[in-house]
């Protein structure tokens, strides 16, 4: 509802200087040198027949039917001129009934209605201000206006202007015909007319809008950075003459105006008195006005540049439609007013602003990334690539060599599983937690930092100093080493993000226990000073820890090396142990990698192009929109696998070689990883392969703890398998063994990988040889062996 009369004394507009307006170009100029300019401006002759256009506008109003009604009701009664069939007449009726106060003319409709190039549509787009005026004129025309009579009684909603109008009418009736003063239509208008730009009109970035666009309807896109208070904006100023009592109205169309001083009425003129005019706030019309500042979006700014911003004026119903932080596309009239600065005395400079016509909210929230069509397309193309999983995994921290399974797991963490909320409000977390453990200098921190960079809300912190939540911290001197330490938490918990905690083992026990809750329940409970509350902390945790004595001690068991309580360990879905030990092939490959990077300034050619961070981020965002389900037939498979793992664990326990505890949490971890894998494929259903890959990753992570952690252990598994095979050989008394038989016997206790490893190991030292089909295993030089 338009604010017509307000009793505020804050006039946004103050008398300032002379104004000359140029409707047709939106150029408004001010002050002294301008009166010369003004004469020039007024000489403009435009070869447009406005009265013809008026007719076509009128025809448009009266004849335009929107497609729906056209299709639906055409056959029923074609002759009936029911205004209900005409979209805009219908709208006008609602306005007349005071059910609506804005009239939005969609340019698409005009385009539909007339097919000509360079026709009305074109002229409207180029010269919006003028055409808004023309539209108003057509609708409000005294003799054949389009505004219908109200079909309902509106008496209850009488407001000040109705009273005033009635008063005016009564008075006018008593006066002779020619004496009626100028009475602006704006004063009684109860609606605002807006144009809505074409649907397929591209939204420009602020820096693309230039002098060429002045006066045109443009659509710009950006983020709202500031919103001004809504203020009343004077549209029509009403004055009363102190001599003759005549009411005089003055239309204000710009930010500044010069109030009338002398009464222009016939009465005063004939009497030759200079009637003084006084402004009557009650008879003025105000509309809400809001100034908004829009800034360019990140992707609109060329590299190495600072974003630009633009002022947007919103009037009437458009006010209060935006909030700071909203990403919107606003179409409006690009207008220029002469520079109001101190140098404006003699210049042809202009300040520019956009007069809003239509506001479209693009995003409700910022954390949903804005995706431009190019990247969108790229993501779609990528999704079709069957290798996408490997490709994405390889693109994670490409500067770090190797660790492919770790990277795979990290990728799954970035994507995450599906968080489910049960009917009773219980939540099953979908976020994956990963712990990386290993010797110093194996790029754990690098991996953490990379993840932080990719994750939309990543927080990186080191355990040694994460004492609380907040942004305050202190610098302290370590009493022993004299080193300066950053103490206290620069940690703001990353809700809906990933929290990377380096040096997890060095965290205070008390702080670590707080993390237990976060990791499983995804909340933080605070009960302090009489306040008991639970905060959301829907975050995945990526922790990195060093073995207890800095380096991994092969002589100790893994549990002794890892200085973390089992309760915490089980909360990590996957735990990787990364050790730094000399290995000829790996070292050489690594040296080669580093040398290549420094020689060529780029990574060595991998099998595929590495994706850049931005693409990965967009892909992940896309993947996260999917909510794949686990089909029931897969449930059985998962259960079977779980039972098998438990069985293995029981065996291990029996042999007192337990390394990691397999708990019911493991089954959840498998499901989470499998759903994340399905998300990577942008699929809606988890497949068997996904579960298998999840199980494989789990296996790998277990192996990293089991085998490589302890060379003797590793050897023992190989030699144990060797012993088993030897037993088979002795039993069969044959130098050529059936591979299937071996596999059957070995895999009851060991994995296929371990068997493979064992076979390869002894193949190297020429103990045995497999045939090409890998069906038989033949001992070489059996005689020598014996």
């Amino acid at each position: 509802m338009p604010v017509t009369v307000t009793y505020t004394t804050t006039f946004l507009i103050m008398a300032m200087s002379w104004q000359v307006k140029l409707w047709d170009y939106g150029v408004v100029s001010t002050n002294h040198s301008v009166d010369k300019m003004a004469q020039a401006f007024q000489t403009i002759k435009i070869n447009v027949n406005y009265s013809k256009d008026k007719n076509s506008i009128k025809a448009f109003f009266e004849r335009f039917e929107d497609r729906n009604s056209r299709n639906g009701e055409m056959e029923i009664d074609i002759e009936n001129d029911n205004p209900e069939n005409y979209k805009y007449l219908r709208q006008l009726q609602t306005i007349s009934n005071r059910e609506n106060d804005n009239l939005v003319i969609e340019l698409d409709d005009i385009a539909d209605w007339e097919d000509r190039e360079d026709g009305l549509l074109h002229r409207i787009q180029r010269n919006v201000r003028r055409y808004i005026d023309l539209f108003y004129q057509v609708i409000d025309n005294k003799d054949d206006g389009l505004m219908p009579k109200p079909t309902k009684t509106v008496g209850i909603e009488d407001d000040a202007i109705d009273v005033l109008m009635q008063h005016r009418k009564d008075r006018d009736a008593q006066r002779p015909e020619g004496d009626r003063g100028y009475f602006p239509a704006t004063l009684t208008r109860r609606y605002t007319l807006y144009f809505k730009s074409l649907k397929d009109e591209p939204a420009l970035s602020i820096r693309k809008v230039g002098g060429f666009h002045v006066g045109q309807l443009v659509t710009v896109q950006g983020i709202i950075t500031r919103v001004h208070d809504v203020k009343p904006f004077l549209v029509v100023a009403g004055f009363t003459c102190e001599m003759c009592g005549e009411e005089v109205f003055q239309e204000v169309t710009k930010k500044t105006y010069h109030p009338l001083v002398e009464c222009p009425s016939e009465n005063c003129r004939t009497n030759n008195v200079r009637g003084k005019l006084h402004m009557q706030t009650r008879s003025c019309k105000f509309i809400p006005f809001q100034e908004v500042k829009m800034q360019e979006l990140t992707e609109q700014v060329p590299v190495g540049h600072i974003p630009r911003s633009m002022t947007i004026f919103l009037y009437g119903p458009l006010t209060r439609t935006t909030n700071p932080g909203d990403i919107v596309s606003i179409s409006g009239i690009f207008q220029a007013t002469p520079h109001q600065g101190h140098r404006s005395s003699n210049t042809l400079l202009t300040d520019v602003y956009l007069e809003g016509q239509n506001v479209r909210q693009l995003k409700k929230q910022y954390d949903k990334m804005d995706r431009d069509p190019i990247i969108q397309q790229k993501v779609r193309d990528l999704a079709r690539d069957p290798n996408i999983y490997t490709l994405l995994a390889k693109s994670i921290a490409p500067e770090i060599y190797g660790h492919e399974d770790v990277k795979r797991a990290l990728l799954l963490q970035l994507i995450g599983g599906v968080t489910k909320t049960m009917g009773d409000g219980m939540k099953i977390r979908g976020d994956l937690n990963i712990c990386l453990m290993g010797d110093p200098g194996v790029a754990k921190s690098q991996l953490l930092k990379y993840i932080c960079k990719v994750a939309p809300r990543g927080v990186y912190t080191t355990g040694r100093g994460s004492s609380g939540v907040g942004l305050t911290a202190s610098v302290e001197r370590d009493p022993v080493t004299d080193e300066m330490i950053l103490e206290g938490g620069a940690l703001v918990l990353a809700d809906n993000g990933i929290c990377c905690i380096d040096e997890f083992d060095k965290m205070e026990d008390g702080d670590r226990t707080a993390i237990h809750e976060v990791m499983e329940q995804q909340t933080i409970s605070i009960s302090k000073a009489g306040i008991t509350t639970t905060l959301n902390a829907r975050t995945s945790i990526l922790a990195a820890a060093n073995p207890i004595y800095g380096r991994y001690n092969p002589k100790l068991s893994p549990t002794h090396n890892i200085n973390l309580p089992a309760a915490l360990m089980s909360r990590f879905d996957i735990l990787f142990l990364i050790l730094d030990r000399p290995n000829f092939d790996l070292d050489e490959a690594l040296a080669n990698h580093v040398a290549h990077v420094h020689r060529k300034g780029t990574h060595p050619d991998m099998d595929m192009e590495v994706l850049d961070v931005n693409t990965i981020r967009h892909y992940i965002a896309e993947a996260r929109t999917k909510r794949p389900i686990v089909p029931s037939e897969l449930g059985e498979y998962i259960v079977d696998s779980y039972v098998k793992i438990r069985q293995e664990q029981a065996n291990e326990q029996a042999r007192k070689k337990e390394h990691s505890h397999i708990s019911p949490r493991t089954i959840l971890a498998v499901i989470r990883m499998a759903t994340a894998l399905a998300r990577i494929r942008l699929a809606d259903k988890v497949e068997r392969d996904d579960v298998q890959e999840a199980l494989r990753l789990l296996e790998v992570s277990k192996d990293s703890l089991k085998d490589k952690s302890d060379p003797s252990n590793n050897k023992s598994s190989i030699s144990a398998i060797y012993t088993i095979i030897n037993e088979i050989r002795d039993r069969e008394d044959n130098s050529t063994l059936d591979y299937n038989q071996i596999a059957q016997e070995v895999t009851s206790r060991y994995t296929g990988d371990q068997l493979e490893e064992c076979i390869l190991e002894y193949e190297k030292v020429n103990i045995w040889k497999r045939n090409d089909e890998k069906t038989t295993l033949t001992y070489i030089n059996r005689e020598d062996n014996d």
């Binding site: 002759k45 002098g211 500044t256 042809l348 960079k453 580093v594 040398a595 780029t602 990574h603």
Partner: protein, 672 residues
């Protein structure tokens, strides 16, 4: 009849002092001879024309420079040079009318040219009226050709330029000026400037506004207060736009014409040549009335870009600009150097210069040659490749075990102070200025600034961390600068020895994050209300600390304190030798064609594998891939430092020996 003006030939000086007249004349001449369509006025390429007029360095140097001439010594509307760093490209654009037509009373039409100025042509006769006719026969009614945009950039004089660098530019300028006796007034003013301290020549714009404040304040009482407030507000704004707080600088709004405005980026160093517009001095008189009436409105307009800021600092309409490599490196000596193309000469002397330079650097580190070597390598480092998140070439060096020597105590003995004494010593200078207080750092800083083109102190104290913004940030429309918003190839000497225990506030934590990000990735985040923008930087950083630093540096090297001897510090080297050093650093840092031959690459790989195996056998700590990466970086710098571009096995061994020495020291230092 058109008044046929005599088209006179313009001399270079006329172009300097009346560039706009020259342009107008030129256009008129064109019009008369070719009868070119006036609407095609833009087709006349003014920048190219000016480039041709000033195509030699010597001619260019005749143009007065904003960097070293007080602004009011240069007449309004004359051509100036401005060597500047772009601080903000986000000011947007101005829409202006590039040309307009006037009509005298007898109907005579005349085209006026309106580029490169904020003011309309002064000589409109009274009997001429403006004819801003957008509907001339040739153009359609929708043709807004005459409304064009120009882009506004906020520029500041290059932050961190060292004294010798400034003097160098100054000397060139004076040389050019003295050759030419016609402009006595200007040359005399510059001469006096040279007589006084450099400090005064680089008179800051901020000072200028203060002066105005003093001059104009005596209007009336009413305005006194508001103008005073305004001016202090303005001053604050100006100060916040320069990376280093409270330091003198020159600032100007540069208006750039043409569509290709994306070429110039933030934090780039550019030399602009264009038309100077003085800041409006008489703000108070002409606008008081307006302002008073306008108060309410102005309050309503609090989000508008404050036009006051624009009109109170000098403005320059750029005709053309140069942003070549010389300005990136910031080393003016390369200017003549590249012209003369004597790469060979410098290369021949490389090992000699290297030795002398090492000695010079070592003198300030108590003769520690290893430290000097690493410092030298650091000075040669730059980011040379950035791909897929890799930042190659960055090398942040830390030298620890640095003694704290309070600068208040005169250094007489050669003994070093134990750290405990040092930390208790008081710091005398004001806390939030970026000047070293540790005498040791001061000495190092003196040496560095004598050989580097762009350098600045950065003592890491709690107060500087908490009070000064290190990263550029924007709360509303304007972008405030931060310490690290400097051009590529600027060095900072960070002094951790002055750090004390205490609380960091929000700014402090953010600053440290910015610093860490800078050291890790050579990237700097500019923060905006709803999101951040990342910019690539190439800032050299050397950290001095007592113990191991808490900044994530690439390489830590302890100083051997036992032979620290302050007397060794060679304070005054002859200028020629310093020039030699500067050239050496400038040239060798930019050797482009560095490469590692395949056999050397193989050699490195083998060495790495063997070393790891040996270390594993002997139970030593083995080198990992970070060590290898560091050594690869060092090897490149070592190669460059010898003036070579090809890595050889000898150079690799040299690098390894150097790094072994460092590791040895580290072990000793940690066991201590």
């Amino acid at each position: 009849m058109i008044m046929m003006k005599e088209i006179k030939e313009f001399s270079t000086l006329d172009y300097i002092f009346k560039p706009l007249d020259a342009v107008r004349n030129l256009l008129e001449k064109q019009q008369q001879s070719n009868l070119i369509e006036t609407s095609n006025i833009d087709e006349f390429d003014i920048p190219t024309y000016f480039k041709n007029v000033f195509n030699t360095t010597e001619d260019l140097m005749k143009i007065p420079s904003l960097n070293d001439t007080p602004i009011f010594d240069i007449p309004n509307h004359s051509l100036v040079r401005f060597r500047a760093m772009i601080q903000n490209t986000g000011l947007g654009h101005e829409i202006y009318a590039s040309s307009y037509e006037t009509r005298s009373q007898n109907g005579q039409k005349k085209w006026k040219f309106n580029k490169y100025t904020d003011d309309m042509d002064m000589d409109i006769d009274d009997n001429e009226i403006l004819d801003f006719d957008l509907n001339s026969e040739s153009s359609s009614i929708y043709n807004n050709n005459q409304l064009e945009e120009r882009h506004l950039y906020y520029c500041v004089s290059v932050p961190g330029e060292t004294d010798w660098n400034i003097i160098y530019f100054l000397n060139v300028y004076v040389y050019a000026y003295n050759n030419n006796s016609r402009r006595k007034q200007s040359s005399s003013s510059t001469e006096t400037s040279i007589g006084t301290s450099i400090e005064e020549i680089i008179r800051s714009t901020a000072n200028l506004s203060l002066d105005n404040d003093g001059n104009n304040n005596n209007n009336n009482n009413n305005n006194n207060k508001t103008t005073g407030e305004r001016n202090s507000r303005l001053l604050k704004k100006l100060v916040s736009k320069y990376p280093f707080p409270n330091e003198h600088h020159v600032a100007a709004i540069v208006k750039i014409y043409g569509k290709d405005d994306d070429i110039l980026k933030v934090a780039e160093v550019v030399e602009f040549i264009g038309v100077l517009i003085h800041p409006s001095i008489n703000i108070n008189e002409s606008n008081n009335n307006k302002n008073d009436n306008n108060n309410l409105q102005e309050d309503g307009n609090e989000f508008c870009f404050d036009s006051m800021t624009i009109s109170n600092i000098p403005c320059m309409h750029s005709i053309f600009y140069s942003n070549n490599n010389i300005h990136h490196s910031g080393n003016p000596l390369l200017l003549t150097y590249y012209n003369n193309n004597n790469l060979y000469e410098v290369n021949c002397q490389a090992s000699d210069t290297r030795r002398n330079l090492l000695q010079y650097i070592a003198s300030v580190f108590g003769g520690d040659e290893v430290v000097a070597e690493f410092v030298l390598l650091q000075l040669l480092s730059r980011v040379y490749s950035r791909k897929n998140g890799l930042t190659l070439g960055k090398f942040t060096l830390n030298i620890c075990n640095i003694p704290y020597i309070p600068s208040t105590i005169a250094i007489t003995s050669s003994s070093s102070f134990p750290p405990s004494v040092a930390s208790s010593a008081s710091i005398t200078s004001s806390p939030s200025t970026l000047v070293h207080t540790n005498q040791f750092s001061k000495n190092v800083s003196k040496v560095l600034s004598s050989i580097l083109p762009k350098y600045h102190d950065l003592p890491l104290t709690l107060s500087t961390l908490n009070e000064i913004d290190y990263f550029p940030n924007s709360n509303s429309d304007e972008l405030d600068s931060g310490v690290f918003q400097v051009s590529k190839g600027t060095w900072f000497l960070i002094d951790e020895t002055v750090m004390k225990e205490g609380k960091l506030n929000d700014t402090g934590v953010r600053n440290l994050q910015a610093l860490n990000n800078l050291i890790d990735n050579q990237r700097l985040l500019y923060t905006f209300p709803f999101y951040d923008f990342e910019f690539e930087t190439d800032i050299g950083i050397i950290v001095l600390s007592e113990a191991k630093p808490f900044l994530p540096v690439d390489c830590i090297l302890p100083l051997l304190t036992n032979n620290y001897n302050n007397n060794n510090y060679n304070k005054d080297l002859p200028e020629e030798i310093l020039v030699e050093f500067r050239k050496y650093l400038g040239v060798h840092r930019y050797i482009e064609n560095y490469f590692i031959p395949d056999d050397v690459s193989k050699y490195i790989e083998n060495q790495f594998v063997i070393q790891r195996r040996n270390a594993s056998r002997n139970g030593q700590i083995f080198i990992n891939h970070f060590d290898l990466q560091l050594r690869m970086t060092l090897a490149r710098l070592v190669t460059l430092s010898f003036g070579e571009s090809k890595l050889t096995e000898e150079l690799w061994d040299y690098t390894e020996r150097l790094d072994e020495q460092r590791k040895q020291r580290m072990e000793n230092f940690e066991q201590r």
